[in-house]
Assembly symmetry: C2
Homo-oligomer: 203 residues x 2
């Protein structure tokens, strides 16, 4: 079993944090996105959609998409449960995972892709107006998530989950995207600090 | 149990198709997106993220996000299984659901949101350059999905799944987005025709 990943790709980091929380070790294979290795024929044979991470099982099966890979490990090692344990928990974790992904990670990533000079080869053309619009969406989301975190330790409730993994990756991705989280959003800052203290947050 | 939805919203349609496949009936509550009803205080109390669909359970629990709602119904009525039956099937369905969502539905929806005059109130500002870039991404995806569908009836393999639900909604959303699927992509056209013949595709 090996994981094709990239140190800088936020989706690959999601899987690494998930594995650390599960205490699972795998072999890593680096894919250099800056050199466009993911667009080469050899990698397209592994994932025709040209994204990392990809998990290759021992029988050669290839699983792309960070959340699909995390679900694989959740089934392989159910404890600690990071996708919820009861029916309603599983459904709420899914809801929050998607909210964090679409309302937080996505607009932050769009700001990064459409403003950072190094992304010019990957995101072509970069559209400054879309970066500005995405920045406004991200700022509106910060306030929404701050409100959602009032009185709850984790975004899906009492337990740490995959939704928090996506949350930490999103919040840390504000740095290369050059977005600031307003000081007054105390719940959001507290959430980020708590998540940053967990295993796997630094790699 | 009732479902807040909108006839025209692609994410609400995903749930309606899913329910038809499961033969589950629920009560519907219309939310008029054109009149911005989803941004009113009364709806923000139901979903602070201002999206449809939202499922309200009899105990008042509110589940937002189409895929989270579908997972709720999958657990409530497991047969026919639309998220896979074996571990590897479940993981591959998740992978394909996400690929269809991010590589097909998302760019098509971006074209629609950033070009259609009626969307000016919901997507402000509309960015023509981002619409053009999204159009190119959608066209590139058409070819990729056509290749992926070679020799397989459904996008995740032999069985119809939630990934196909997202696929049909995405392909039909090309019409308001004014995108044409090239004639030579025969697998993609065959897939769409097969999915269009299923229950719940017309509503």
């Amino acid at each position: 079993m090996k994981l094709y990943h990239s140190t800088h790709a936020p989706n690959a980091r999601r899987v690494r944090i998930f594995l650390a929380e599960k205490r699972i070790e795998v072999s890593f294979v680096d894919v250099d996105l800056a050199r466009l290795n993911h667009r080469e024929e050899s990698f397209r044979a592994i994932n025709p959609f040209e994204t990392v991470p990809v998990l290759e099982l021992d029988d050669g099966t290839k699983i792309a998409e960070s959340i699909a890979i995390c679900r694989y490990f959740e089934e392989l090692r159910p404890s600690p449960a990071l996708f919820g344990t009861t029916m309603i928990e599983r459904v709420e974790v899914e809801m929050w995972q998607r909210r964090v992904e679409f309302f937080l990670l996505l607009p932050i990533a769009q700001v990064f892709r459409h403003t950072h000079p190094a992304m010019g080869r990957l995101e072509s053309p970069q559209v400054p107006e879309w970066a500005a619009s995405s920045r406004a969406k991200a700022l509106a989301s910060f306030a929404r998530f701050d409100a959602a975190l009032e009185g709850r330790p984790f975004i899906a409730g009492e337990r740490f989950s995959i939704a928090d993994v996506t949350g930490l990756v999103a919040l840390d991705f504000t740095r290369p995207a050059r977005l600031s989280i307003p000081e007054n959003l105390r719940n959001l800052h507290r959430w980020r600090a708590d998540l940053s203290a967990r295993p796997g947050s630094v790699d």
